[in-house]
Amino acid sequence: MKRLYIYLRFYFVSFLYILLTLSLIVGIYIYSIPQLKLGSLIIYNRFYSNLNSIPEWLYIVNYFIFVFIIAIVIIIGWTIRYSVRKKRNTVADIIFQEKYIPQLFEYLFSEHEYTEEEKKIKLNRLSTIISSDHLKRTVINVLREINAQTKGVINEKTQRLFEALKMDYLVYSYLRSLHVKDKIFAIKTISTFKLPHYESRILKLTKSRNLILRSEAIVAMMHLNAENDPLSFVLSEGYTPTLWDLNIIIKTITELEVIQIDYVDLINSEKEFISLLGIMLARKNNQTQFKQIIAAKLSNPNKMISDEAFLSCISFAENGADYNELINKYLLASENLKLEIITCLRYSPDTQSAMEFLKWVVESQKLVQKVEALKSLFELDFNTIMYYKSSEDEYIRKSCLQILDINL
């Protein structure tokens, strides 16, 4: 019954729509119905006779005035109602936070072993207090926060308490709610308490157009599948991530310390952002064995993929051949990546090739690249800097001055 109530409530017509409809009806009556017959009773519309005598365009102006007045009344009413409601919720929150949350904390964090009877009494008391949805959410949010930040006994206690509160109907109805706020609440709860029977619904939400819903669903999906393949949904049909999603996935992977990732499928995916994700994860987890597959992406037309491939190749570079490959592909790199390549060359075992290349950069490339190349040369061979210091090229001289500036 409770579930039905919550479910139906989201579809109830709001107060505003009732008011708008009423004003529309009143407006139609005033402006277009001369008299109203209710059985034997006839109600004459006095406004109509007055309004009917004015020009047509002024009649429309009058109607607009009527609409504006109604709108003003509605806005004022709505604002007052909203402010009062907000204040009431804030007061309820304060009372709850001050009075009941400490009790909850005491139960969760005390070393005292409660008997089953004691637990039952406490649970009953808590259930009575959290009668409104607002308070139920507050309690679950508190439990969720504690669960996410703890391990061991306290973590288990929050899990057990959540199960004992029997909030499944709330999660179920909120997950189907029309309000984003409710959906987020449900997804977060599912994700934290690992409620497995909602997986298919969550999978659908990973493709939602709403960014925050999608993000939360991604996190939940990865949490639910933390021990199997948390990225399986990424390769599922119809999933196209954004840069935001990519960052969320990488962040969650890091938090979960995931080991099982299908790098090859990710890197070779036809979807650009998924390929990008694969390369990023390989670099982050130092998966040097995929160096060759990633090197093939250096000339990818998508700038983000090629940039990421360059970053990975820089990070994986070990021998002279790796560094020489970077030198060969230098012109394909974006401006910022060019600087990274120049910087990494100071660690190349093939010093001669590196120095020749750096000298070429100093003599023929842009100012920022000249500066970076001179920095690397400074590390490799200080005499070269002294040679360039008296160069005829003004930009090379300026760059040298910057390198030699002790404050930079």
Partner: protein, 473 residues
């Protein structure tokens, strides 16, 4: 044609103009409502702290020109230095100040001259020196000291020095919310279909608010009446106006006090125009033209309605007059420069709707209003006014304005609720009523003076005019 026919024709022109203006405001209200709903659903529950641990985000330079800001520069730089974005640097441009701005910066932040070489993409007045801080707390602060060349010139110099993906152009006296950059950058990360080329944010009035260590600690409704009028005006302009134009991707202005831009694209279009006082509007129009004429890609100028940037607004008649006069001159300059966009379908909604809006209601608006008032007086003198119709139309305008402004205030209370308590709502109600009879007519006069200065004072029409600030509480 007899006299009465002439009167009918002129009256009809004013009537049609009024109807168009009314339709525009109605469109604004409807579109902004829809866009607000969409934005709210998409962003209300985003935890921006997650962005701090993101791997792939654009790098940002916060650039702020300063001219004779000695009184508050230290406090402002401290505020800008405490933003939470993971990868940003701060570039302050001392645009040839004649007061102690540079000296204060040097002593407060332990600055030291450096010989950094600069890639010059945009022409600017000569740079005298670059300074960096020896204090690790200010390691990402760069101060450019250059010859005076105006705000646009200073911004261009900072763009030259920056090497980040995006730049956030702000007024140095603005106070930013700690997560301001995250919120502004978000559209650059989330859009799949469109490339975001710039993002504009909302400016809020800081007068009377409590400021501590460069942060707004307590938001208070201004005590000064001029500031109160501007709070209302900013609500309407940002919440309803810009939100609506953003909905149809036809926003033409990003406030100069707070706007995020793609640095490479700005360099490609030649940076800020040094010859206008409306450089913020002009840059966005030029960027849009560039996207339509050169890149021909799907793109978007995003708008973030969250209150992220706080600024001090003029609290007296003279400063307000100078500010509005300058805004008008800037708008006229841009409109005339890009006049070929007017009703040009090549620029899609920008050419068909947004640019004509600027021409008809921003440029010509004050002139038509003024002529309208003169015309009414003329008709009244000759007894040709039907007072019944006049009164009906007056009530129409009055109720519509009241509804429109209340709508903006309701949005604020419903979404951001920065001004606490229902008292703010009722105070605003009074301000709305007074605004219609005091502030709106004055604004018309300020704009008219801008017109006169632009057309008849050729020597001064590109002068910024002095702005005096009261300072923070």
């Amino acid at each position: 044609m007899n006299t009465f026919n002439w009167i009918d024709i002129i009256t009809s022109i004013f009537f049609i103009y009024g109807c168009m203006l009314f339709a525009l405001y109605l469109m604004n209200a409807i579109l902004s409502l829809s866009e607000f709903r969409r934005y709210s659903v998409k962003n209300k529950y985003v935890d921006y702290k997650t962005m701090l641990s993101f791997e792939k985000i654009p790098t940002v330079s916060v650039i702020a020109p300063a001219f004779n800001e000695g009184k508050s520069i230290v406090e402002n730089v401290k505020c800008l230095n405490s933003l939470s974005y993971p990868d940003y640097d701060l570039i302050i441009v001392n645009d040839g100040s004649t007061d102690d701005t540079l000296e204060k910066l040097i002593s407060s932040f332990d600055l030291i001259e450096s010989a950094q070489a600069i890639d010059v993409h945009l022409y600017t007045e000569p740079i005298r020196n670059l300074y960096y801080s020896r204090n690790p707390v200010y390691s990402h602060l760069t101060v450019i000291d250059k010859d005076n060349g105006g705000k646009a010139d200073a911004l261009n110099a900072a763009i030259n020095v920056s090497n980040k993906d995006l730049f956030l152009a702000i007024d140095v006296d603005c106070l930013l919310e700690p997560d301001a950059i995250e919120r502004m950058v978000k559209p650059f990360l989330e859009d799949r279909k469109y490339e975001v080329i710039a993002a504009g944010g909302v400016i809020r009035v800081v007068n009377s608010c409590v400021v501590e260590n460069g942060k707004v600690i307590e938001v208070k409704y201004p005590k000064n009446f001029w500031a109160k009028f501007q709070v209302l005006e900013y609500f309407r302009a940002f919440t309803l106006g810009r939100m609506a134009w953003s909905k149809i991707n036809a926003l033409l202005i990003i406030s100069g006090a707070f706007g995020l831009f793609d640095r490479n694209r700005v360099i490609n279009v030649g940076g800020y125009d040094r010859n206008t006082v409306g450089e913020d509007l002009e840059l966005v129009v030029r960027l849009r033209r560039y996207m339509h004429e050169v890149e021909k890609k799907k793109y978007r100028v995003a708008f973030i309605p969250d209150p992220l940037c706080w600024t001090e607004v003029p609290e007296d008649f003279n400063n307000l007059f100078r500010q509005r006069n300058r805004w008008t001159r800037g708008a006229i300059d841009t409109i005339l420069k890009h006049r070929r966009m007017f009703l040009n379908p090549k620029y899609k909604l920008i050419g068909i709707l947004s640019f004509p809006n600027w021409v008809l209601f921003e440029w010509l608006g004050p002139i038509i209003q003024f002529v309208g008032i003169l015309y009414f007086v003329f008709l009244a003198i000759f007894g040709a006014v039907d007072y019944k119709i006049f009164l009906t139309l007056l009530i129409f305008v009055f109720t519509f304005s009241l509804m429109y402004s209340l709508f903006a205030i309701f949005f604020e209370i419903y979404t951001f609720n920065k001004y606490k308590g229902i008292g703010f709502f009722f105070q605003s109600l009074l301000v709305i009523i007074l605004e219609m009879f005091i502030y709106q007519p004055l604004n018309m006069i300020f704009s008219l003076s801008g017109h006169l200065d632009y057309y008849f004072k050729k020597k001064t029409h590109k002068v910024w005019g002095k702005m005096e600030r009261v300072g923070f509480n």
